[in-house]
């Protein structure tokens, strides 16, 4: 009781203090007002310019709450008499109105920002320059930080799924840290490793190749953007067409992803703190057979085969418990992964200087068994300063992140376990060790062999950028950026002997891997803006010098005496397989842009770049790239203005140009020797071609952008066609040359074409209630147009001319053999064997179309946002190998065998053969289209009455859900992985959090 009483007193005191504070604030304000009526008059003069420093004439400069005022002269100057504590209001059509208190100053210079319509408000980052939705001639998609910052993801790219037209994101899996695959308008290069887009963070290019690891995510690698703080992202822009990407020259072929981090903006200081926590689970299960049904099927197999089950061919029937049931899916991914994110930002600024300092902590677990998790700590800082006359500005941004990823090492925790017989023995003994005995009795290895292997990966990443700009004279600006990045990761992969069957005699081992990536870049630029009557000219010329160095080092240490010593290499018996590779990449370029427009109606944008790259052969070091883009805002034409307000905006735009792909590996042209696997040796590993050079991507695009009903509905439709040629592939050679190919640029062409539609609609826009819908859809088409002599190349069984790159070559399913009841496939050339010559069915594995619909509602303090992602595609399904000792999909066992379309239940070799052939046929084709509620978030802003009481600027509670619902007819675990029945890469996550601003 006493305590409660005391608490009440405290609360009351606090309330009184608040009231007192509010009261005094009001008093002060009242005092101020009173004083103004007694104030003295003084002279004020100054100059009004636009953001480019060009003077604006005719600006109305008025004194607030009075009728007195003046207009600026031709050179933008004004002069008037006003009270020393008055407020000046600068207003001019097409520009934002600005209010500035005089505060005894005699000179007040003002920059006015342009504003025409909603289309113009948002500045779009085009890399070296900014544009707006209205004025852009190229195709740029944009996602703001606000849309993604609450998503519980490690890398920001994972949050982009379904949000942009033409941008296809495949997350690498559910293990934290896995690299996502991003394809902007399809696959351009025949080489898998030649399809990464260019990542640029605050103007600094980041190597987009995933980082090698020995952990379970080794296949996809680690995402180089893991160490970024998702909450610190202001916007992500994706450059797609030639107009937008050609300025990136030989690196723009696969599109460019620009990530801009937040800067301090507020006047005064502010503190923002946010925390959320959530749980992720695997949302669904495969419907597999239970023990009884499974064993029935197995018995049936022996019955059909006329064989007697024994301990070798039927351990599940003879040796194992007939009633035991394990839900292997629960064991495998039935866990709960916890996510927590805390974010703290302190920002502030005065008129000329602003800063932002932030820190964050993020942790995520996995749904797999075992103690695996991911931690990330980031720190970022941004300082921005402008000189008083606005001529000089400097901007420094630092992003630093360190993460610790503890994952199971290099062991698949997936497919093999999922389809185990439901009555298989336990994986673990009661003491937690792996159960070898029971499995061994059936002549099997424990499927969790290697389970105790772990990888500990620690990586840290610094991305820093310093930008300096100086206005030399009105219209001409010199700007330079200096960037430095450093990525370092250290990985310890521990393989204790208890992970392995004692009979295998595996000793305690470890594998050590370190990777380092370092780069610096310098980009001096001149920017010139001028206006001649109605002709606006924006010109840019700049140069790039860049150097990347990287190395990777790996070795194995074997024979530790005990598990606790693993990692301490001094205690290892032997160090073997030591490897080190390093690479240096140097790049220089000259780039320029000329953007001209007539009366803000006709636009032409010319961009070009001359590149020199150390990756190109000595005979081909330099290359030129360029593009032309044009736009016509036809809604500005008098004859169409009549249609207003129904048609409020209309623009045609088009672009054509060339970009290159220099992701061709370093030193590919060198006639070099490398170390042999055996110690102390060197040997030539490939034939050298000094003419080796980049791939070229020629991009063509046309688009139309429309705004209806005062821009309440906005549409943007694009049609594109990109042709990627000069493909760097292995030119096939007979082995008499020593090797079977030499890397060379071949006249092979890959075409990506398609339609993209993006639409936004402000359905309801009242003060209380707002509803906005945005929609995007892409219809991509990929085709290998030509490839001379593909039959002789190493791609003979991978690609087919006239078809997409992402295909699978299949046999033709010819039904069940009437005699045996087993699957049959067609032997096309009737040579008695089945090989690639018989695989005549070509299945397109690309998405037919994909997109997303995002809705945002807000009603007073509550806002609701949800994003649906949808995909139309085909997939495959398996798990119907009835008769073999593996579990399979539930099926109606009362249906006579010959009627359900599946082959006779059997364990014979012929049945196995039939099944293994049918796996590569069209028989497995299934629709794998889906609609998924990708994100759903609800937030509630605390009412001001409340926030005032607790002295908060703002307070917000939010609830966020990921992958809550999936509508699909696909039988596999995740239609996002349509070719793998048992694969998955999306978890259902529900998180809740709180944000306060002070």
């Amino acid at each position: 009781m006493k305590n409660n009483y005391r608490r009440t007193i405290w609360v009351l005191l606090l309330l009184v203090a608040c009231l007192f504070f509010v009261f005094t604030q009001n008093m002060l304000a009242a005092n101020n007002m009173e004083r103004s009526s007694f104030s003295f008059q003084q002279e004020v003069s100054g100059k009004v310019t636009d953001t480019d420093g060009l003077p604006i004439s005719g600006v109305l400069v008025s004194l607030k709450n009075t009728t007195s005022g003046t207009l600026t002269s031709l050179n933008g100057t004004y002069h008037l008499i006003a009270p020393e504590d008055g407020i000046l209001v600068f207003s001019f059509l097409g520009f934002k109105t600005v209010e500035i208190p005089i505060n005894y100053k005699t000179e007040i210079n003002v920059h006015l920002e342009e504003v025409v319509s909603i289309l113009d408000e948002v500045q779009i980052n085009a890399g070296y320059y900014n544009t707006t939705r209205r004025e852009r001639t190229g195709n740029i998609s944009r996602v703001t930080g606000a849309e993604i910052e609450l998503q519980p993801v490690v890398s920001p790219l994972q949050a982009l799924q379904g949000r942009m037209a033409g941008v296809e994101i495949n997350t690498g899996g559910v293990n934290p840290g896995t690299a996502s695959t991003i394809r902007i308008r399809g696959v351009n290069s025949l080489r898998e490793e030649g399809n990464y887009p260019l990542y640029i963070i605050d103007g600094v290019p980041i190597n987009s190749t995933p980082i090698e690891t020995n952990s379970i995510i080794g296949f996809a690698g680690m995402d180089p953007l893991n160490n970024l703080n998702v909450s610190n992202i202001e916007s992500i822009e994706v450059l797609k067409d030639a107009d937008a990407t050609a300025i990136y020259g030989s690196r723009g072929a696969n599109g460019v992803i620009l990530i801009t981090t937040k800067t301090g903006k507020t006047l005064g200081t502010g503190l923002e703190a946010r925390i959320y926590t959530g749980v992720s689970t695997m949302p669904n299960r495969l419907k597999l057979m239970n023990t009884k049904d499974y064993l029935n099927v197995r018995r049936k197999a022996f019955e059909n085969d006329g064989e007697e089950p024994d301990e070798y061919n039927a351990y599940d029937l003879v040796l194992w418990d007939q009633d035991r049931y394990t839900d292997w899916q629960d064991l495998l991914f039935g866990g709960t992964a916890k996510t927590t994110n805390a974010n703290l930002v302190f920002s502030g600024g005065s008129e000329n200087t602003s800063f932002r300092v932030g820190g964050s902590y993020f942790t995520q677990g996995t749904v797999y068994p075992g103690d695996y998790n991911y931690h990330k700590i980031t720190g970022d800082m941004n300082i921005n300063h402008r000189s008083k006359d606005n001529k000089f500005s400097i901007n420094l941004s630092l992003n630093y992140g360190i993460d610790f990823n503890r994952l199971v090492g290099n062991v698949s925790l997936n497919d093999a376990v999922l389809i185990l017989p439901p009555n298989a023995p336990a994986i673990f003994n009661t003491d937690g060790s792996l159960n070898w005995e029971e499995w061994g009795a059936a002549n099997l290895d424990n499927p969790y062999k290697g389970f105790f292997n772990t990888t500990n990966t620690e990586s840290n990443n610094l991305i820093s950028n310093l930008g300096v700009s100086y206005q030399i004279f009105s219209g001409l600006k010199f700007k330079t950026t200096l960037g430095y990045t450093n990525y370092n990761s250290e990985e310890l992969f521990m393989l204790p002997s208890r992970s392995y069957n004692p009979g295998d005699n595996v000793t305690n081992q470890s594998t050590h891997l370190s990777s380092n990536r370092n780069s610096w870049i310098m980009e001096p630029q001149f920017i010139y803006k001028t206006k001649l009557n109605k002709l606006h000219i924006d010109a840019l010329i700049g140069a790039t010098l860049q150097e990347n160095t990287q190395f990777q080092q790996q070795f194995q240490a074997v024979g530790y005496a005990s598990e606790s010593l693993i990692g301490n290499i001094a205690a290892a018996k032997n160090i073997i397989n030591a490897k080190r590779s390093e690479a240096e990449y140097r790049y220089s370029a000259l780039f320029s842009r000329l953007g001209i427009n007539w009366n803000r109606k006709y636009y032409i944008n010319l961009t070009g770049r001359r590149d020199g790259s150390s990756r190109f052969g000595p005979n081909n070091r330099f290359a030129n790239f360029g593009a032309v883009g044009a736009a016509w805002i036809f809604s500005e034409e008098p004859w169409i203005e009549k249609l207003e307000p129904f048609l409020s905006f209309g623009k045609f735009r088009g672009s054509y140009g060339t970009t290159g792909n220099d992701q061709i590996g370093d030193y590919g042209y060198l006639d070099a020797y490398e170390a042999t696997v055996g110690p102390g040796g060197l040997y030539p590993t490939a034939l050298a071609n000094p003419d080796y050079s980049w791939e070229i991507n020629k991009k063509l695009e046309v688009g139309i952008e429309l705004g209806f009903i005062d821009d309440k509905i906005r549409l943007s439709l694009s049609r594109y066609r990109n042709r990627s040629s000069n493909q760097l592939v292995g030119y096939s050679l007979p082995y008499t040359t020593g090797f079977n190919s030499v890397q060379a640029n071949l006249n092979a062409t890959v075409q990506n074409s398609g339609w993209e539609l993006e639409a936004t609609s402000f359905n309801i826009n009242t003060d209380d209630f707002k509803w906005q819908t945005s929609f995007n859809i892409s219809f991509p088409k990929n085709e290998l147009l030509s490839y001379p002599n593909i039959e002789q190349s190493s791609y003979a069984n991978t690609y087919r001319v006239g078809h997409p790159l992402n295909i699978s070559l299949l046999y033709e399913y010819t039904g069940l053999d009437p005699e045996t009841g087993f699957y049959t496939v067609r032997d096309v050339n009737e040579d008695g064997s089945f090989d690639y010559q018989d695989r005549i069915i070509i299945q397109d594995q690309n998405k037919e179309f994909y997109g997303g619909i995002n809705n945002t509602f807000s009603y007073n303090n509550i806002s609701l946002q949800f994003l649906f992602e949808f995909v139309k595609q085909e997939g495959r399904i398996d798990l119907f190998d009835a008769g073999s000792p593996y579990n399979l999909f539930e099926r109606d066992l009362t249906t006579p065998e010959e009627e359900d379309g599946f082959q006779t239940i059997s364990q014979s070799y012929d049945a196995y053969e039939g099944f293994s052939y049918v796996l590569d046929t069209n028989f497995l084709k299934r629709d794998a289209s889906f609609v998924r509620l990708k994100t759903l978030s609800v937030s509630y802003s605390l009412p001001q009455k409340l926030t005032k009481v607790v002295k908060l600027k703002e307070g917000k509670i939010f609830l966020q859900g990921q992958n809550l619902l999936t509508l699909t007819s696909y039988q596999g675990l995740d239609p996002d992985l349509p070719n793998s029945t048992s694969g998955f890469r999306n978890l259902r996550t529900i998180s809740a959090g709180l944000q306060i601003n002070l």
Partner: protein, 468 residues
């Protein structure tokens, strides 16, 4: 505004100038995990490494590694000593049944790995030739070693395929459309290379490691070449030179010691170290030995007819033939270690050994009518095997009987080694007689393997062997 124009021009000049300087900027140094070929041969240490690389790669190259695509296995299958346990491995069955198809992938493995080895030797020889910085002594030695490896590789190519392209440069534009040279031209080159290498090499083994080629290895291979070319005088003379080097080589009494690393009987061996140091067993060991427990992994066994040809007291049967009761299969057990990661390495893969030199000299002498000398030589081999000596039991043997006896001893002595039996049957013209007996599909043209079809697709100038 005039100034502005000047400024603008100045700006452009500045940028243009900075771009010109960029030409140099994009030159990068080679990283330390790669060495440009010319640099490799500018320094003794790196040049030496290039030769070590060749030795290492011999353990990895398909034709020479003793594993699943090696001459040892595939040519072994083509003859009558060994056979597949698993008859569903069609590509290997094609060798066993002498029904090779031109698209057989194992056949391509032999071809491609052999030409890759030739590329390495050519690249090294070119590097040496153009280098002025390497000490003369090293240059001499390395040239000898590389010429030996090239000749050795061509020896198998010419014996397996007949006419083959003679590639003597690393330049792919030259080799891309090369035609086949005659067997005679190939042998001329082999003899030239081996003579050169005999002159260039010394007689000792550095550090006692018999994995490094020396003068005698070269002589021993040349003795075999002359035997194959039926120049018996030279074959006798050269094998004699090797046999006389009795401080270096001897016939070991204990058969279990013959295949040990650096055994006194070894003239040239390939070390398992080339596979990287994870394992220390020979591929022959892991391929041929049938593990008592993991017998399901076994793929090769000895043919019964061959096993039956041994007499019971033959030590080569008791010591070099293993038996797996579960499989009821005999297997080659010359190498005793099938799986090991223990160091130091106990066994090396044998390529050339002294016993073969005695057999060469015996045959060369028999062919020249020196019957009793030939009997002495063959008795060295029989005696070591614990058999009665010909000199005791059959001193009046005729030349023809003796030659048959030599062929039989070669079979028993050299089985499961480098396809000796296949090459012996082929060169003595007995392939049809012996192999055709049990094979209804046998054709005389089967003595040569087909030129791989993939190779002919890429190079239209390559003709095919008869019968394919």
């Amino acid at each position: 505004m005039k100034l502005n124009i000047i400024q603008r021009i100045g700006m452009i000049i500045f940028l243009a100038a900075s771009l010109i300087s960029c030409e140099d900027f994009v030159e990068v140094e080679t990283p330390n995990d790669k060495l440009i070929r010319t640099q490799v041969f500018e320094d003794d240490a790196t040049a030496k490494s290039a030769m070590v690389g060749i030795y290492n790669q011999l353990r990895l190259a398909a034709f020479s590694n003793g594993s699943r695509s090696s001459v040892t296995l595939l040519s072994g299958l083509s003859a009558d000593n060994i056979r597949n346990i698993n008859t569903t491995n069609f590509t290997r069955m094609e060798f066993e049944q002498n029904e090779l198809l031109p698209n057989n992938p194992n056949n391509l493995d032999i071809w491609s790995s052999a030409y890759n080895m030739i590329y390495m030797t050519n690249s090294l020889l070119e590097g040496l030739e153009n280098s002025e910085k390497i000490t003369a002594e090293l240059k001499t030695h390395m040239e000898g070693e590389a010429r030996f490896v090239r000749a050795f590789t061509y020896f198998y190519l010419v014996n397996l395929y007949g006419d083959v392209p003679l590639v003597l440069t690393a330049d792919y534009s030259v080799n891309e459309l090369i035609s086949r040279n005659t067997e005679t031209e190939i042998y001329e080159q082999i003899i030239y290379d081996l003579n050169e290498s005999t002159n260039l090499l010394s007689a000792d083994y550095p550090n006692g490691e018999r994995t490094i080629v020396n003068k005698y290895a070269s002589t021993a291979l040349l003795a075999r070449v002359y035997l194959y070319l039926e120049d018996y005088e030279k074959a006798e003379e050269l094998s004699n030179q090797v046999i006389l080097a009795n401080s270096t080589y001897e016939i070991l009494d204990n058969l279990d010691e013959v295949f040990l690393a650096n055994s006194k009987e070894a003239i040239w061996q390939i070390s398992p170290i080339g596979s990287g140091g994870q394992v220390s067993h020979t591929n022959e060991g892991s391929l041929f030995i049938i593990d008592p427990i993991f017998s399901f992994l076994a793929s090769i066994q000895l043919q019964d007819e061959f096993v039956n040809s041994f007499t019971d007291q033959d030590k080569r049967f008791t010591d070099w033939v293993g038996y797996h009761p579960g499989k009821d299969a005999f297997f080659a057990y010359k190498y005793k270690i099938g799986n090991s990661s223990e160091f130091p390495i106990k066994e090396y893969s044998m390529v050339l050994r002294l016993a073969e030199q005695y057999l060469i000299r015996a045959e060369a002498r028999a062919k020249q009518g020196q019957i009793s000398e030939a009997i002495d030589d063959i008795d060295i081999i029989r005696g070591r095997a614990g058999l009665e000596l010909l000199a005791d039991i059959h001193p009046t043997i005729t030349q023809e009987e003796l030659l048959n006896e030599i062929l039989e001893e070669r079979r028993k002595e050299l089985f499961a080694e480098w396809g000796h039996r296949w090459l012996d049957l082929k060169r003595t013209g007995k392939a049809t007689e012996i192999l055709g007996e049990n094979n209804a599909f046998w054709e005389n043209t089967d003595v040569l393997y087909p030129i791989p079809s993939e190779e002919r697709m890429k190079n239209p100038n390559l003709s095919q062997n008869n019968g394919y």
